[in-house]
Amino acid sequence: MGKAFSKPEALTDNYTHYCPGCTHGIVHRLVAEAIDELGIRENTVGIAPVGCAVMIYDYINCDFQEAAHGRAPAMATGIKRVRPDLMVFTYQGDGDLASIGMGEIIHAANRGEKITVIFINNAIYGMTGGQMAPTTMPGQRATTAPAGRDTAQTGMPIRMANLMSEIVTPGYVTRQAVLKPQMVNKCKKAIKKAFQYQMDNTCFSFVEVVSTCPTNWGMTPINALKWAEETLLPYYELGDYKTPEDA
């Protein structure tokens, strides 16, 4: 009988630097499990973002390249075009993907690059210390929105999965969360599916993951999960937004 809980091969032995209650660790694990189950670890290149997950390469055991802020989809394009046999994924946060890297993500998706994008949406800039992100909720406090996000000045939070689903080029676009065990299971399936589409050379895929940042939100881990469920999920609705079969 196998072990009920074992460490994926694609996960290194390093302890993560993430804060208590941060969901990066969960998503790292899901990515590692998907890579293991598909047997693609030795053909995979990840793109580490600028953001809290910049050192993802310490935790996931495959080749990595480190991008500048927002440019991961362009780097992934460069790798995938010259080495279509490699499995290429980016792992990006909301400041990275939805703000400074908006151009790169939209165009990579629109060209239908056969890459996998894992998008961590925790409604705040983590790395730089809790500044407002494009995904920050109305009224949510941030160090650059001390009175809470004023939508009259800064607009409404961007729903990336919804936006990406408007791109005509076929692709897989889904929004998942890791706030509860059953959500984690679904998210895992989505990540695996996203890699599978790449393996089959089917399409670009985009997995948005609604996540937490207790440290910058100023909440205990438990309260952060609760807040995410009550505040983020009604606005960031979970589910598949587009599949290649729709096309």
């Binding site: 290149v45 080749d63 990595f64 390249q65 010259v82 080495r83 490699l86």
Partner: protein
């Protein structure tokens, strides 16, 4: 191979293919768009990768990705486009990846104009992006040299694991000259298995490769920069290229000039000679590493009264010339950068004024 008549831009594109670079990413900008147009036809014929990126910013990172995955890759652009790529150039230099950038310079600053210029000398040789890094910069004076330098660039980029820039100007990009593609300039790609993120399965060692420029430990970052500096010092020792023209006789003046401008100076020197005036030319073919000793020695010739740097800029290379001549001879400057290239007659007039 027989000579063919080609536009500089087309020839650069073909040279990349002949050098074994089958990956090209670019964004259109005048006066170099013909490179992309040419390669969009040619690369599919040879099974290569052609992609027009959404911006020069993205293109810079497409190069970074491709290069980090261990493949030869090139882009071409012109001044404002190179500014946008400078972020990626800094990252590529920081992560020690080889990649070839071609800058067909146009007038600046800002939108400037589409006419030829040499206004990006500082940008290319003194930085452009952030941090302590250097590009190896090759400056051709015509279409044939643009071909040769483009071909050399890939080997140099791999030798140093550093971005290399071929820096021409609009005139070199737009003019047609006969060219040959020398087979002996093609280098075999180096084995990149010990550093490139090209997938473990293709390598003997199953250690993961990281292509990165982040060093959190101050001592480690300092050491990284020392290693980079050692590479730049090695470039200065091993890969300086230059040409001296009409320098065997007793010249009264040394003209420092590169690229298109040097072609005009060459004609001016011939015309001066016909009038009995001896002028020599020092032409750096590598702008970084700059031929420091060579310009110094040429300036120190006894008969040489002064040195003048003539550029299609407001005075950029002249600072390197001054630095190397170390105050031992007067160093003058003449430049125009509106897009009209100074004529040989104008150069003659300036030289005559200087040497009285």
């Amino acid at each position: 191979m027989a000579k063919v008549l080609m536009k500089g831009n087309e020839a650069i594109g073909e040279a990349a293919i002949r050098a074994g670079c089958l990956n090209y990413f670019a964004y259109p900008i005048t006066p170099q768009s013909e490179v992309a147009e040419y390669l969009s036809k040619r690369l599919p014929e040879v099974g290569g990768v052609f992609l027009q990126g959404e911006s020069e910013v993205a293109v810079g990172y497409m190069l970074f990705g491709a290069s980090g995955a261990g493949e030869r890759v090139m882009t071409t652009s012109s001044s404002p486009g190179i500014s946008l790529m400078s972020e990626a150039i800094s990252y590529i230099a920081g992560a020690e990846c080889p990649a070839v950038f071609v800058n067909i310079m146009r007038g600046g600053p800002g939108l400037g104009g589409i006419l030829p210029s040499q206004g990006d000398y500082f940008q290319a040789t003194k930085g452009g992006g952030h941090g302590d890094y250097h590009l190896l910069v090759l400056a051709p004076d015509g279409v044939q040299e643009a071909v040769e330098m483009t071909m050399q660039a890939f080997g140099l980029a791999e030798k140093y694991r550093n971005p290399v820039m071929v820096m021409g100007d609009g005139m070199i990009g737009q003019m047609m000259e006969p060219v040959e593609f020398p087979d002996d300039l093609k280098t075999e790609p180096t084995n990149k298995d010990d550093w490139a993120s090209n997938g473990m399965s293709t390598r003997k060692s199953k250690k993961k490769n990281l292509v990165k420029s982040l060093f959190l430990d101050p001592a480690e970052l300092n050491q990284h920069n020392l290693n980079l500096k050692a590479k730049y010092e090695q470039m200065k020792k091993e890969d300086v290229q230059y040409e001296l023209y009409n320098a065997d006789g007793d010249y009264q003046i040394l003209i420092a000039s590169y690229g298109t401008m040097s072609r005009v100076c060459r004609t001016a020197i011939d015309m001066l000679k016909a009038e009995g005036i001896e002028a020599a030319m020092f032409r750096p073919k590598t702008l970084f590493p700059f031929p420091e000793k060579q310009v110094h020695d040429a300036a120190l010739k006894e008969t040489c009264k002064c040195v003048i740097s003539i550029e299609m800029s407001m005075g950029q290379m002249v600072e390197d010339v001054q630095r190397c001549v170390m105050g031992k001879k007067p160093v003058e400057f003449y430049g125009e950068c509106g897009g009209e290239i100074p004529s040989p007659e104008k150069i003659m007039e300036i030289v005559k004024e200087l040497i009285g």
